[in-house]
Amino acid sequence: MRNAAVLDTTTQDFLTINIADQRFGIPILQIQDVLGDQNVTTIPLAPPEVAGSLNLRGRVVTAIDVRRRLGLERMEDEDSSGKKSMGVVVEHHDELYSLIIDSVGDVLRLKDDDFENTPPTLDPLWRNISDGIYRLDNDLLIILDIPKFLGSVDE
């Protein structure tokens, strides 16, 4: 499941992100930027998971609603709880994408020993975008496979 380069190292750094009540990890080296609340222009007629586009230092970035992509409800309570959505910018095929998520957590350095393949019983939608799972002390961290995540949006 995992590529060879990752297996060679004993630890890897991940940025944890929170979506609904689940923590996800994104390999830190794939992240270009973390954005606060942004002014997103909606794109008419676009696929539903496309939240819109935004301007990041003169480059047009396509925003992807991760909740939508994962088949979750939209975060409707953002105003009441005072939380605002954030964006994690990644590059895919020379284009920038901002993954709209609930919030960003810590950066974790994780040992390869704690890595597990995704359980085959997981929702196929989730399994298809995940690289595997890390066992943390009190919870599980699902690793987002960016190419898979965006690649499938692409199609």
Partner: protein
């Protein structure tokens, strides 16, 4: 070595283009020594470099070509077109090899001996003293490895190395441009004058992108500080502003290339063309220095070449024809390029025969792009536009140059792809001029920023023709026909599409009362499709940097890209082509054209009709054919009386029922109102209207199906949407005995046909069957009910070919009424066909036409028509039908025997009545 080869390729490609141009010049001025030396030098350089790089095949060809050129230069051999053609062949061969080298990195396998033989033959013909052996040996040796040379060659080679810069030196063409210098003194000069250097295009592209970003950042800064006039940043920002503008201009310049580069191949093409076709053609080029973005340049190169070829092939006549037409034998094709308001205008004109409307028409019909009738009333410009349609070529014979039918439509498509437009003017016999308008650059475009449902979008300025503000209560209004929005723009109906509904945006305003909402119509034109886009707001025009949309959004064809505005927000750029496709949900622009045109065609299809325009009830003007109206009266409403649930008025010693269009009963009042009086036989009916507007002669082109009963439909008259009133509908309503006069004709009203049919059955009168052929929907709509009401069974056909099919099926009619001017099969042809058919040869045939000269009548009779009726004379028509049928009834007794008694009786009576 790799580097050397790529350098060589670039240089050689440039040289080869130049050689083409120069050879054409040389052919005209065979004694131009300088020119000859220049060509010689260039070929020489190619040869020399090839030897150096170990490209034997290339070298051999170049070498033998150079030999011949050498003879020219030495004055041993006269420059003739044949020899020049030979040199061209060699140049082509070199080009082919260079291209292969470019693609594969290697010289292709192959054999050039045929060409070399020819070159040698020329070379040796004058130099009989030179033995045959060495030449052959040369070629062999050279092709083996390029290492061994005869003394003569070595000399030449040495000269080559002396006279030309090596591959790493300054580019050869630049040297070559120093025309006055003979070979020997060139090298130093070349080095000294070289002011240019090669820069990889990628570097320039990156630079351009970065400048674009800088421009955006500047715009953002300006936007931020606009609200803060006191800011200390204002001064520096202003300077930054200027510097950035200059920088943008400067970088744009690096991408600019003179349009002459795209033209360099044209002289050669024209030369070859004149040789092949035996024409004399002069190519004039003006404004070669006009610069435009190299991306654009690349894209217009092929369309331009194609068009110049076309001008030469289709436009310019052969010398004899020209002479006969009183023109100089040599035809001229003129290319002109210049800047105009941020665009480049390229004109290609020739003084040839121009476009032949007749040929185009014939071709259009042949290819089924339109019907003869459609074309009939089109103006020449509209007809000329057909050459831009797919599958069209006017060349009678297909030459190697043009006439393959993939012509101007491709040109148009390509030009429109880069946001340009193409226009055509042609005078038959005097020549044609094509005008191409293209943007200076594709990277930065001027766009109109609009808003729909609180979202902003950019529309490229080039597609925007005009802006119209509309207001529900104002002068300009959007009108709705069955939910479809249209707008009257001067003399035509413009289909509208709402941006927010097109993009499926939810508009909060929809819920609100929209009566006072202002909207704007962006009138756009794409190709030949006109449409209007309804938007909520129009901002400014802005210079925007076009950025491609993300990969996963590519499928949305309504957007051509996105951009970042001065305020930092991202907005989508609408693709006018995409929008045009959605107008009327058409699959492609071609269809849109056809649709558009067939609409226009209908307008021309019918003859002009005198119409009375009036207003009644609604605001929309109404029209009714004047021929149906007996008189116009002003009637005082205080004289209205009531009887039998109807409003009546005493009129000329009769009681005339009064009708209104909304079917209400007119009320007694003190005012006077105009009334249209319809009279048929002794019966009259008055139709109350609000006011009478005008009488006009118009083509009736019913655009829309009847929105409700009592209307034929709507069309544009005097620039306004007008409802065409089906008078018979109202009249039958008013009086069921309308049209039924005494008892001369059995009568059936379409509104209560059951009862009528029962009546008919009781009277046991068989209805006469009428076949009506008229291509005009209007007349069919008009005559069908009229004939029905007069007691005939009617089958109406738009196309005579359809009607004649019925003869084969054994359907019989008592009378056939046919229009004369029709597409596909006109009335005369139809008559011939009818008369030729066994089943129908005796069926009476009436011609219906607006042209009723004696001559026409004679012709019609000769073709088999029994009678000839003017189109608008209702009484005449009914009378003639009755008469013709009755005559026939007397004279024949085959199919009609059963009915003949009653038919003739009826007809007889009616005849008596009418006479």
């Amino acid at each position: 070595m790799e580097d050397l080869i790529s350098e060589f390729l670039t240089e050689t490609n440039e040289s080869l283009d130049e050689i083409d141009v120069d050879l054409v010049k040389l052919e005209r001025n065979p004694n131009d020594k300088e020119l000859l030396s220049k060509i010689f030098r260039m070929v020489h350089t190619v040869k020399g470099t090839c030897g150096f790089l170990g490209l034997p095949r290339l070298e051999t060809v170049a070498h033998h070509a150079e030999n011949v050129l050498g003879r020219f230069r030495d004055g041993d051999l006269q420059v003739t077109p044949e020899y020049v053609t030979l040199i061209f062949e060699s140049v082509d061969c070199v080009k082919m090899l260079v291209k292969a080298l470019e693609e594969t990195g290697q010289e292709p396998e192959g054999d050039d001996t045929a060409l070399i033989e020819k070159l040698d033959a020329v070379y040796e013909s004058r130099e009989s003293s030179a033995p045959e052996e060495p030449a052959k040996e040369n070629s062999q040796k050279a092709s083996e490895g390029g290492g061994k040379f005869t003394q003569a060659e070595l000399d030449a080679l040495e000269a080559a190395f002396h006279s030309t810069p090596g591959p790493n030196d300054a580019p050869a063409p630049k040297v070559a441009e120093q025309k006055e210098e003979p070979a020997a003194t060139l090298p130093e000069k070349a080095v000294a004058t070289t002011q240019s250097l090669r820069v990889n295009v990628d570097v320039l592209e990156t630079l351009m992108t970065m400048v674009s970003e800088l421009v955006l950042t500047r715009n953002q800064l300006i936007q931020i500080l606009r609200t803060n006039s006191e800011s200390e940043f204002n001064g520096p920002l202003q300077r930054l502003n200027h510097v950035v503008s200059d920088l943008q201009e400067g970088v744009m310049k690096t991408r600019m290339q003179p349009i002459g580069n795209a033209w360099s191949k044209l002289p050669r093409i024209i030369r070859d063309l004149s040789m092949e076709l035996g024409k004399k053609i002069e190519l004039e080029m003006h404004g070669q220095d006009t610069e435009l973005d190299r991306q654009v340049l690349e894209l217009i190169k092929d369309p331009l070449t194609h068009m110049v070829r076309n001008s030469g092939d289709h436009g310019i006549e052969d010398p004899e024809t020209r002479k006969a037409a009183g023109k100089p034998e040599t035809g001229t094709i003129r290319l002109n390029a210049y800047h105009e308001g941020g665009h480049i205008i390229i004109k290609i004109s020739d003084d040839g025969k121009g476009l032949s409307a007749e040929k185009i028409k014939a071709k259009v019909i042949e290819n089924g792009l339109a019907t003869a009738e459609d074309l009939e009333d089109m103006n020449p410009n509209q007809i000329n536009q057909f050459i831009f349609k797919a599958g069209f070529s006017t060349a009678e014979k297909v030459t190697s140059v043009s006439g393959r039918g993939v012509g101007m439509d491709v040109v148009r498509t390509n030009i429109e792809k880069i946001g340009g437009s193409i226009d055509l003017k042609s005078v038959e016999g005097e020549g044609s001029t094509f005008t191409i308008k293209i943007p200076l650059t594709l990277a930065i475009v001027s766009a109109l920023i609009v808003e729909a449902a609180q979202e902003r979008f950019a529309i490229p300025q080039l597609a925007v023709r005009e802006l119209v503000m509309v207001n529900e209560n104002g002068e300009n209004q959007i009108e709705h026909i069955k939910g479809t929005a249209v707008f009257r723009l001067r003399d035509r109906l413009l289909p509208l599409v709402s941006l927010s509904s097109l993009l499926k945006l939810r508009s909060d305003d929809d819920a609100e009362d929209s009566s006072n909402r202002r909207q704007y119509i962006v009138v756009s034109q794409v190709g030949m499709v006109d449409f209007g886009i309804i938007v909520d707001r129009v901002y400014d025009t802005e210079e925007i940097v076009v950025k491609p949309v993300a990969h996963l959004l590519r499928d949305i064809e309504l957007f051509s890209g996105n951009t970042i505005l001065g305020d930092g927000s991202v907005i989508m750029i609408l693709d006018p082509n995409g929008v045009a496709k959605h107008v009327g949900s058409l699959d492609n622009a071609e269809d849109a054209d056809t649709m558009h045109r067939s609409d226009a065609n209908e307008a021309y299809s019918s003859e002009k009709t005198a119409l009375l325009l009036f207003r009644a009830g609604e605001d929309t003007p109404k029209a009714v054919p004047l021929s149906l109206i007996d008189r116009l009266e002003n009637i005082a409403f205080n004289q209205i009386e009531y009887g039998g649930g109807q409003a009546l008025i005493q009129y000329r010693d009769q009681l005339m029922p009064l009708m209104t269009f909304d079917n209400s009963v007119p009320e007694k009042s003190d005012c006077e109102q105009p009334v249209l009086v319809f009279t048929h036989k002794e019966k009259t009916v008055g139709m109350v209207v609000d006011d009478i507007i005008d009488i006009c002669n118009e083509h009736i082109d019913i655009k829309l199906d009847p929105p409700r009963q009592g209307l034929f439909g709507s069309c544009v008259i005097n620039g306004r949407t007008t409802d065409i009133v089906d008078a018979s509908y109202y009249l039958t309503k008013s009086d069921n005995n309308w049209f039924k006069d005494h008892d001369d004709a059995p009568y059936q009203s379409p509104t209560n046909s059951d009862e009528q049919i029962r009546n008919l059955e009781q009277h046991s009168v068989a209805k006469k069957r009428v076949c009506l052929v008229d291509d005009s929907a209007f007349f069919r709509n008009m005559l069908e009910p009229l004939l029905r009401m007069s007691g005939y069974d009617v089958m109406a056909f738009e196309d005579a070919r359809e009607a004649i099919k019925l003869a084969d099926q054994g359907v019989e009619f008592d009378i056939i009424i046919s229009d004369i001017e029709m597409p596909h099969m006109d009335g005369f042809e139809f008559a011939r066909a009818v008369r030729a058919h066994d089943a129908w040869q005796d069926t009476p045939l009436l011609a219906l036409s607006s042209h009723t000269t004696d001559e026409d009548m004679e012709h019609g009779k000769a073709m088999g028509f029994n009678a000839y009726i003017a189109k608008f004379d209702r009484d005449d028509l009914l009378q003639a039908i009755a008469k013709t049928i009755s005559d026939q009834g007397y004279s024949e007794n085959s199919a009609y025997t059963l009915e003949s008694s009653s038919a003739s009786q009826n007809a007889h009576q009616s005849k008596e009545h009418h006479t």
